[in-house]
């Protein structure tokens, strides 16, 4: 720093802290007053410098000692907080650097990712209601399962007297005894249903994504797991069809099918296609099975012939006393009846305390001939 005796410019004075102090607070520590008066030229410079200082005032709102003290305390508090945070950060980093923690984290992430993809995949798959999934979920109900691995249709008789003609490579799950207010069975594949009438206990067939509700009727359902469509063809009575998803959503309309109407459900798009004339649809026409073509309207027909028709239709064997029945003729309509009902009606018509037993596809008629 220059000696004050060599100050030639206003700036020299302005930069001198001691001079500024003298000017602003009139604390004449370094004998400025006396020094100024020593020289008239000096006085002029000092006067000018003073004017500069006077014109250059800045707000002098000094903070009190207390305010500064509070601020210092705040700063220490902030420091403590940040030091704690950084310590935790260091601990986290150290934790991360230990191998096992990283392994656990990796496993966790992989688990989370696979769970995510699984649920996503699963959600996409949920479009297709799988027979095994549905049945698995209901396992506790004590379901019986009939699987047809043969190349001939099999007859399944349900506890309510309904009969189901199960086609090859198809399976049916059904309770041993129907309880509650509804009858529920699960189908995978193709089957012809003849349901005994019971309006108080509606009958439900769950097949892939489709729920078919009936009261008493005959119809066929084709619902193979590996096929893209589900087909329902009505023979007699009235059938209501809904999708599994739609059944939970009340806003979706049921589709009502009448005799000789069919419904095709596209599993991929979840769309229904109602076919009002089954003779037009080629694939449906070709798939009609013998049971649906056979007429059960009998007018004065020998009982043996009626049994033969039943044998053909249901792929069963009927053992009956041929000689006793030689002269028996019947007139009856059995179209809308399930197999047990048909047999019961025949036995009743023959009279003479006739009865039948059924063991798988083996039916035995016990009778002493007709009246």
């Amino acid at each position: 720093m220059k000696e004050r005796n060599q100050y030639r410019e206003v700036e020299d004075f302005l930069a001198d802290e001691s001079f500024c102090l003298w000017m602003r607070s009139q604390k004449n520590v370094d004998g400025w007053e006396e020094w100024t008066l020593e020289h008239p030229k000096r006085a002029k410079l000092v006067e000018e410098a003073r004017l500069w200082l006077l014109a250059m005032k800045v707000p002098n709102d000094d903070l009190s000692q207390e305010e500064v003290g509070v601020a210092l305390q705040n700063a220490w508090m902030e420091i403590e907080k940040r030091e704690r945070e950084s310590k935790m950060e260091i601990q986290l980093i150290q934790l991360w650097q230990t191998g096992w923690f990283r392994k656990i984290a990796a496993i966790f992430v992989i688990g989370l990712l696979s769970f995510y993809t699984y649920t996503k995949y699963f959600a996409a798959e949920q479009l297709y209601y799988d027979y095994s999934q549905i049945v698995k979920g209901l396992d506790e109900d004590g379901l019986l399962e009939q699987i047809n691995n043969s190349n001939r249709p099999q007859i399944v008789t349900l506890s309510d007297g309904s009969s189901v003609l199960l086609q090859p490579k198809s399976k049916l799950s059904y309770p041993k005894i129907f309880t509650g207010n509804e009858r529920k069975v699960f189908l995978s594949g193709e089957a012809f249903f003849e349901i005994s009438k019971n309006p108080k206990k509606p009958f439900f067939v769950h097949a892939n994504e489709i729920v078919t509700k009936v009261v008493g009727t005959s119809f066929r359902i084709k619902a193979y797991e590996n096929q893209s469509d589900v087909e329902i063809l009505v023979r007699t009575g009235k059938v209501k069809v809904n999708s599994e998803k739609g059944s939970s959503k009340s806003n979706q309309k049921e589709i009502v099918l009448l005799p000789n109407q069919a419904l095709r459900f596209e599993r991929k798009n979840q769309t229904f296609d109602k076919i009002t004339d089954i003779t037009i649809d080629k694939s449906l026409r070709n798939s009609v099975k013998s049971i649906e073509q056979l007429s059960f309207e009998f007018t004065d027909i020998p009982v043996a012939q009626i049994f033969k028709t039943i044998e053909q239709a249901y792929s069963v064997e009927i053992d009956f006393p041929k000689q006793e029945f030689e002269k028996c003729h019947l007139t009856t309509s059995l179209s809308d009846q399930p197999l047990p009902e048909k047999l019961k009606i025949i036995c009743k018509s023959i009279g003479n305390n006739s009865s039948y037993t059924m063991n798988g596809n083996q039916i035995t008629i016990l009778s002493k001939g007709c009246n």
């Binding site: 200082l53 006077l54 014109a55 250059m56 005032k57 601020a71 700063a75 420091i79």
Partner: protein, 200 residues
């Protein structure tokens, strides 16, 4: 209190700085008390939010303590702190700008207008002259005013001003020089006018 005052007298800024770097909390507190006021006042010339400015100065000190190990040994403490405060305020303003909350320019603007020390003036002639000079001073560009403020209110040298304003020595020197030339010109003109008026 007396103890601290005596310590302040014993240790200068550089020594306190070394102590602070070594982890001496007392040195930190002394420096804090010494410069807090001056730093807040400087912050107030750059940003109108005085509450925020105090926080900002406290944050500067907090950072100094937390990162004391990585700080340079040889700094002019006052200039370093002033420069830290300025950088922080500019950064905050830029952040606000990003979030569209402030329309200020990219570099911090010196907001302060100098005023006249009325209390120290007894005669009218001096008052008039001081007013004229004050008007000329306040017409200066913000950066030149800031340079003057740092030079004559904080007694910093040109080196230090250059660091704070983030320019090189020559630019800082020019800034001050131009300000002084401008003032002298403006003021002489005003004085001439004043004398003419008085002579009339």
């Amino acid at each position: 209190m007396k103890n601290q005052v005596s310590q302040k007298n014993i240790l200068n800024d550089d020594e306190l700085w070394v102590e602070l770097k070594a982890g001496n909390e007392k040195a930190f507190s002394i420096l804090f008390k010494k410069y807090y006021n001056c730093l807040v006042q400087y912050a107030n010339t750059l940003s109108p939010f005085s509450e925020k400015n105090q926080d900002c100065v406290q944050d500067v000190f907090t950072d100094v303590w937390i990162y004391r190990n990585s700080l340079s040994e040889t700094v002019v403490v006052k200039a370093y702190l002033l420069s830290s405060v300025r950088k922080r305020i500019v950064r905050l303003q830029q952040r606000d700008k990003v979030f569209n909350r402030s329309k200020s320019v990219d570099d911090s603007v010196f907001l302060l207008d100098f005023s006249v020390e009325q209390q120290l003036i007894s005669d009218e002639l001096t008052a008039n002259r001081a007013m004229k000079l004050n008007k000329v001073l306040n017409k200066l560009p913000a950066r030149q005013k800031e340079a003057l403020y740092l030079r004559y209110h904080n007694s910093l040298n040109i080196d230090e001003i250059a660091v704070i304003l983030n320019v090189n020595y020559q630019s800082a020197s020019n800034l001050l020089h131009r300000a002084l030339v401008y003032i002298r010109k403006g003021w002489n003109g005003a004085l001439l006018l004043l004398t003419m008026l008085l002579l009339k």
